[in-house]
């Protein structure tokens, strides 16, 4: 990988958001992933989502593990701090970072090898703790950087580029996230930005553990016939449960959609999600029903995408720990050190 700086020239007529930033202010370095990689579409989606929501880039912290997906935080939000940790351990580093400063927005980017294989434990525990974050898995069912080995999300029966058939069972991270108590669970497809960008925005605004599994075909090692994570296969087998329109709370809610086809979900921060229902009676408030639906469709060979579960009033880790409103990293001696006199009292109790 090489580091390439983009020219800082801006076209004078680039649109600006509420903060006066252009979309370019949300970009990062030039991607060094393969041409056509689904991950680059996801990075573009992340850039668009943060731009649209007018979030100051430097108030976002980007964390990742190891793998192709984990390289992508370099390619978006260039003015944000980023941390590329060790394989499968992004969730713990993100959890710690979040404990230190609750005021930033945390986006964790991981892959299927990173989160479903080596890091399955950390994936699970970060969700069950309710860490306030956007946890994205860029899921291609394959190890890209080490050239094409199956990952734990590879479907049973799928074929590798060399023709080897996967006999192992597949881990469905969405089903796991539902079981583990993530308060926002969605699946997107890197090739469907119309669905993806609202999902990312909704995840950003969600004040709890938001998990977003994004099927992202690997053009180099998992885009052949026989693969169940190729562009063609996904397009043919995708069951879209809903399309999302996202309205941040700070904007006046206007809508051009027909009332009968919308379901509104007000999030904790006042932002409103509008689900355009494609599937009959799909209820994104019921994790049990979502789980059942997910399994039913999977049985039919379909991959369900859309917002599968959202809890409108999520609780997050800092609420559980009852921490002060101020970021812990902003506290100094005055707030933290009990001082000499207290120590004398402590000494007295130890005699």
């Amino acid at each position: 990988m090489t580091y390439i700086s983009k020219p800082k020239l801006h076209h004078p007529k680039l649109p600006v958001n509420a903060l006066g930033y252009t979309r370019r202010d949300y970009e990062g370095a030039v991607s060094t992933l393969c041409a056509g990689c689904g991950h680059d579409s996801i990075s573009a989606g992340i850039i668009q989502a943060f731009f649209d929501l007018s979030i100051e880039p430097h108030r976002v912290a980007k964390l990742s593990g190891i793998g192709c997906s984990s390289k992508t935080p370099s390619y978006f939000l260039g003015s944000s701090h980023g941390l590329n940790s060790v394989h499968g351990r992004m969730p713990s580093v993100l959890t710690g970072a979040n404990l230190a400063n609750r005021d930033l927005i945390y986006i964790g980017v991981s892959g299927d090898g990173d989160s479903a294989s080596i890091g399955l434990g950390q994936f699970a525990h970060s969700l069950r703790r309710g860490v306030n974050m956007i946890y994205i898995v860029e899921n291609n069912g394959v190890y890209g950087l080490t050239k094409g080995q199956f990952s734990a999300t590879a479907d049973t029966g799928t074929k590798s580029k060399r023709g080897v058939e996967n006999k192992d069972g597949a881990i469905d991270l969405v089903a796991l996230a539902l079981q583990l108590g993530a308060t926002f669970v969605a699946r997107g497809f890197s090739g469907d930005k119309e669905q993806l960008i609202p999902l990312i925005k909704a995840a950003i605004e969600h004040q709890g553990a938001a998990f977003l599994d994004i099927i992202s075909p690997c053009v180099a090692f998992n885009n052949h016939s026989g693969s169940t994570k190729s562009y063609d296969y996904i397009r043919e087998h995708n069951e879209i449960v809903n399309r999302l329109d996202f309205m941040p709370g700070r904007e006046t809610i206007t809508t051009e959609y027909k009332a009968g086809s919308l379901r509104e979900i007000t999030q904790h921060d006042g932002s409103v999600l509008k689900l355009r229902k494609l599937a009959n009676d799909f209820d994104a408030h019921d994790p049990t029903a979502s789980m059942t639906y997910l399994h039913e469709r999977a049985h039919q060979g379909e991959i369900v995408t859309g917002l599968l579960y959202i809890k409108s009033e999520p609780e997050e880790l800092h609420q559980h720990l009852k921490t002060v409103d101020a970021a812990l990293n902003s506290l100094g001696e005055k707030e933290l050190c009990p001082g000499h006199t207290t120590l004398e009292t402590i000494n007295d109790t130890l005699r």
């Binding site: 580091y3 979040n98 699970a124 409103d325 990293n329 506290l331």
Partner: protein, 611 residues
């Protein structure tokens, strides 16, 4: 055999069954003597078990203030038939056996060179209590009462301690006092009290405090400004994290809102625990984890990441017996090399070696300053002996004028002023570059932290020269650390000796006593207590200035010796190791006899030991 006569200088061992409620009774015994002004050093010798297995509590009483384990037993309180034979064998000739005589023991089970004190504890208990649990618990208190009479422990002092413990719980208070009286009265009526070993009031405790190392270290973390603590339960370190929580509940809640000025997470494993520490410290909070050897093994990858990405982290290693699960409840100093060179690739880490709870407190607070200043992991190398035993030590001190050293952090104001930020550029030639916390400035100071190689601007680079320059800077940083870490403590013999001894950590009290013993035997020897790695010039000079150097360690492989040979380029022939690693704390007797023997073996005559 003449009975042992000893005032304020003896060892009592309580042999109990785990889970029988003996711990608080035994502590009452130790604290009573302490309150009489006589130093005690109790040690828990316990199994990896919650209920049913043998457990021992060994109390050394020493007016002279020797706090190391002595070895041998003068009085055995035999409450566990299962370990009877083994315990009896360790009683010194002329020593005393105290046992529950309710059921007669066969004559063959006794020794004829010891004094036997049989008290029908179970019988007394059953006469006075009907409740099964009470019968069990008060049996312990009754033997403490009997011991008070036998050893001439001030009954009022003991009563006061019980009053303090059960303040506000009058029923419990009364029944405990009653149990003490039962034991005391029986002993007074049946035996000549006091016996040959006894306690009398002294003035050797003074202002000293009695505290476990883990609790003191946790308090150091509170004072040192730690706000994030993440851990995974593992003996003997768990009580450090738990003590941190207790201290924080008292001293770290916002007086107005009661909100917590700290976050403690029990992680899913040690990998997550250190990952969280790194995330928090990267984001500008002071963070630590507490663990033991197996945990450090699991953390290796992340420790290398923190070293290379230059993120502060404080790691308490409460060492236990290894390898593998090893001896989880026994003490050792066997993680020295594991921590000094933790992780793959070329790495070196700062280690601190506290000798007692007082230093555990100080080095704990200092570790956060060092980690921030050096932007690297810092290990506080404790062990079970310091961590899980209450030890008499000087009172803890804190200067209110002290400020946290947060190291080189570029602030928003500095960036606004236009100061140049390059994350890995050595601007002051000390190997330490400036960092920024995430979220500091809209356009300046952001960078990407990674475990892969980078140039001074934090940009990914696999170029050889960039890599080498970075690795050289890390070495310069380690040199800077030499000046910042606690200096070793020297102990001069009078006259100065040609031979020296190097020791560290929990070996200290036994070593101090061994110096005296050696001196008395005409083998006075100089000493150097290492308090940190990297080693400063003082360590190197001490070795160079002595013909021969002993290194006393509580591990099999002489790990500190390896580190000294490796880091200082010393001739290995110059060193002789004194190694104790059976899981029990090292004793002065062991050290003194090993050194005396080896002085002879290595051809150092008594006259050669001194100049």
């Amino acid at each position: 055999m003449k009975p042992i006569e000893a005032e304020n200088d003896f060892v009592v061992r309580f042999a109990n069954v785990n889970g029988s409620g003996s711990a608080s009774a035994n502590l009452l015994f130790a604290k009573s003597i302490l309150r009489m002004g006589i130093p005690v050093s109790p040690r828990n010798i316990f199994p990896s078990n919650i209920q049913g297995l043998p457990t021992w509590y060994e109390v050394r009483v020493s007016e002279q203030g020797w706090l190391g384990r002595r070895g041998g037993i003068d009085l055995l309180v035999a409450m566990n038939p299962e370990t009877w034979d083994q315990d009896l064998a360790e009683i010194e000739p002329g020593g005393y056996l105290f046992y529950d005589s309710t059921k007669p023991m066969p004559l063959a089970k006794f020794r004829d060179d010891i004094q036997v004190i049989g008290i029908p504890l179970t019988q007394i208990c059953n006469m006075h209590y009907t409740d099964v649990r009470q019968r069990q618990l008060f049996k312990n208190i009754i033997y403490i009462g009997a011991l008070a009479a036998l050893l001439d422990i001030d009954f009022e002092v003991m009563q006061n301690l019980v009053s303090e413990q059960y303040k506000g719980k009058e029923t419990l208070l009364e029944s405990n006092i009653q149990a003490i009286q039962l034991g005391r009265d029986y002993a007074l009526s049946e035996f000549d009290c006091p016996i040959g070993i006894r306690v009398s009031e002294g003035l050797s405790v003074g202002e000293k405090i009695f505290i476990e190392g883990n609790s003191a270290a946790a308090l150091g973390a509170v004072y040192g400004g730690a706000t994030v603590a993440t851990w995974y339960p593992i003996t003997p370190s768990s009580s450090l994290a738990e003590a941190f929580e207790l201290h924080c509940k008292k001293y770290r809640h916002d007086p107005d809102t009661d909100a917590a000025r700290y976050a403690i997470l029990q992680a899913e494993d040690e990998l997550a625990a250190i990952g969280m520490v790194i995330g928090a410290a990267w984001n500008g909070a002071r963070a630590f984890t507490a663990t033991s050897g197996p945990g450090i093994s699991l953390m290796q990858e992340f420790i290398g990441f923190a070293y290379f990405a230059e993120i502060p982290a404080v790691i308490f290693d409460i060492q236990r017996g290894g390898p593998s699960t090893g001896m989880p409840t026994r003490t050792q100093q066997s993680d020295i090399l594991l921590c000094a060179y933790a992780s793959h690739g070329d790495t070196k880490h700062v280690l601190l070696f506290p000798q007692d709870p007082k230093e555990a407190f100080e080095m704990s607070a200092a570790a956060f300053d060092l980690a921030d200043r050096l932007q690297t992991p810092v290990f506080v190398m404790m062990d079970l002996d310091i961590g899980m035993n209450q030890r008499l030590c000087d009172p803890l001190e804190w200067d209110d004028g002290r400020r946290y050293d947060r190291g080189k952090v570029m602030t928003r104001e500095m960036l606004e002023r236009g100061e140049e930020f390059a994350r890995y550029l050595d601007v002051e030639n000390d190997g330490i570059a400036y960092r920024t916390y995430p979220g500091t400035h809209p356009t300046e100071g952001a960078y990407f932290t990674r475990g892969t190689t980078k140039d001074s601007q934090a940009k990914y680079s696999e170029a050889g020269p960039d890599y080498v320059e970075n690795m050289q800077r890390l070495l310069r940083k380690f040199d800077t650390a030499k000046e910042l870490v606690p200096k070793p403590v020297r102990q001069w013999n009078d006259p100065p000796s040609k031979c020296g001894v190097i020791y560290y950590g929990s070996t200290s009290p036994a070593m101090i006593e061994a110096f005296e013993a050696l001196k008395t035997g005409g083998l006075g020897i100089d000493g150097l207590r290492i308090r940190a790695f990297p080693f400063g010039d003082e360590v190197e000079n001490f070795i160079r200035n002595h013909q021969h150097v002993f290194i006393v360690e509580q591990n099999r492989d002489a790990q500190m010796r390896s580190l000294l040979v490796n880091e200082l380029g010393m001739d290995p022939a110059k060193f002789t190791s004194v190694l104790h690693y059976d899981g029990t704390p090292i004793t002065a007797r062991f050290i003194a006899s090993e050194i005396a023997q080896k002085l002879v073996v290595t051809g150092e005559s008594r006259s050669a030991a001194a100049t």
